[in-house]
Subunit: 242 residues, 2 copies
């Protein structure tokens, strides 16, 4: 079936998924491009695909074709990919594993995406996002993950409550701050841990800091006040990877 | 003096500095915001400042005032800062130091800026940019450096020639690739080294690879094909920092 009208209900539904409110209502989100679609497909997250006329993608999911104009209308990119996927939101699992990353109010979509990519690279089992973190299903976040959001358990939660639970279950809680912590290089590594990274401007919230067992800092030249949070997180996860 | 006309020659000159061609001709570039201006001032790079009417900034450099309209016209930002600085281009020094970072055709301005910030954090003495690298004075690069471009020696050069020179001077040349190298974690660290990082899509050019003494890779989970080059560079520089 080739769709060509913006008035079609299915097309309108896809377009609405640009907005968080509608993504939350429907439990769906959009991805664009072959690489992302293949990653989502491997994990069974594709509901249906919208392809540019004459594009061939032999996947066992419902496929719809759309005109170039419609593709541009449905896409969140200035130069749309010929492949748009409607995905089911990620299904978090209860088994958190031993290696947890907690993000407290990360606001920049590129930072969140990069952090998810690095978390997969360095074998994090579960990422817990505070409720004030930028939306995981924001298209810029998804693009920056390079599809790796489908390869790690991601949970949206009240992190204060969650950290209290983790402490009861003998997770070691690492916080981060710029000074007055233990240097990352001389850190004693724990097998079962959660590491908390904070907001770009203000770091970890005070009430969350109070729950930490130990603070880590990355030693650096005094001319540099701080690192980008995506960089800092990646370095810490690299070091904590056995 | 309060400027209000777009036709004024000085104002036209500033506006032209948005373009690389004119930056190169004049040996000047623009920075915006108090933090960047203060960093440039400390190092003596400010030629003159343009401030929004009634802004006070007690620095010992020529100061001009401009109307809000004119500020918007001169700025490269959608929401201009009240402070615009015209800077002299960085003066490279011949003494390269022992710790060198070479960038081969990095194209994303945010990546270049982030890499410069991390290079300062982890005590790199000199950054050598290949001639096909994105322009150092691009406003997005400068913003991403957070002002740290003023704290490290940066050279634009034919990197192939430069690497041959470094080899004669007993620098150990580290290359990077995704596989078939030495794991960063088990690397023997050299006191006098240059590390080469390559383009976002294709890595290090073949003719440059041939000049490397040793290749490094960052061990990661097989679900992750690669890291963002800003992240990978930062992790390597962190590890090479004693």
């Amino acid at each position: 079936m080739l769709y060509s009208s913006k008035e079609n209900e299915k097309i309108k539904m896809v377009r609405k998924l640009h907005k968080k409110k509608y993504r939350d209502q429907q439990g769906l989100f959009l991805i664009e491009g072959e690489h992302l679609v293949l990653e989502a497909y491997k994990k069974g997250y594709i509901k249906e695909l919208y392809l540019k006329k004459d594009t061939i993608l032999p996947l066992d999911v419902p496929i719809n074709y759309v005109t170039d104009d419609l593709l541009l209308y449905m896409s969140e990119l200035d130069s749309p990919s010929p492949i748009i996927g409607v995905c089911y939101k990620l299904k978090p699992i209860n088994e958190l594993g031993n290696r947890i990353l907690i993000l407290d109010n990360i606001q920049n979509p590129g930072n969140l995406g990069t952090i998810i990519r690095s978390a997969v690279a360095f074998n994090i089992d579960t990422i817990i996002l505070s409720k004030d973190t930028v939306d995981l299903y924001n298209s810029k976040v998804i693009r920056a993950t390079q599809g790796l959001l489908f390869h790690v358990n991601i949970i949206l939660s009240d992190i204060e409550e969650k950290i209290r639970e983790l402490k009861k279950n003998n997770y070691h809680i690492y916080g981060t701050r710029v000074t007055h912590g233990k240097s990352l290089k001389s850190l004693e590594k724990k097998e079962r841990f959660a590491i908390i990274m904070g907001n770009e401007g203000i770091g970890i919230k005070e009430e969350i800091k109070d729950l930490c067992d130990e603070f880590i800092y990355i030693k650096m030249n005094q001319n540099c006040e701080s690192l980008n949070v995506g960089i800092a997180t990646s370095i810490i996860l690299y070091e904590l990877d056995k």
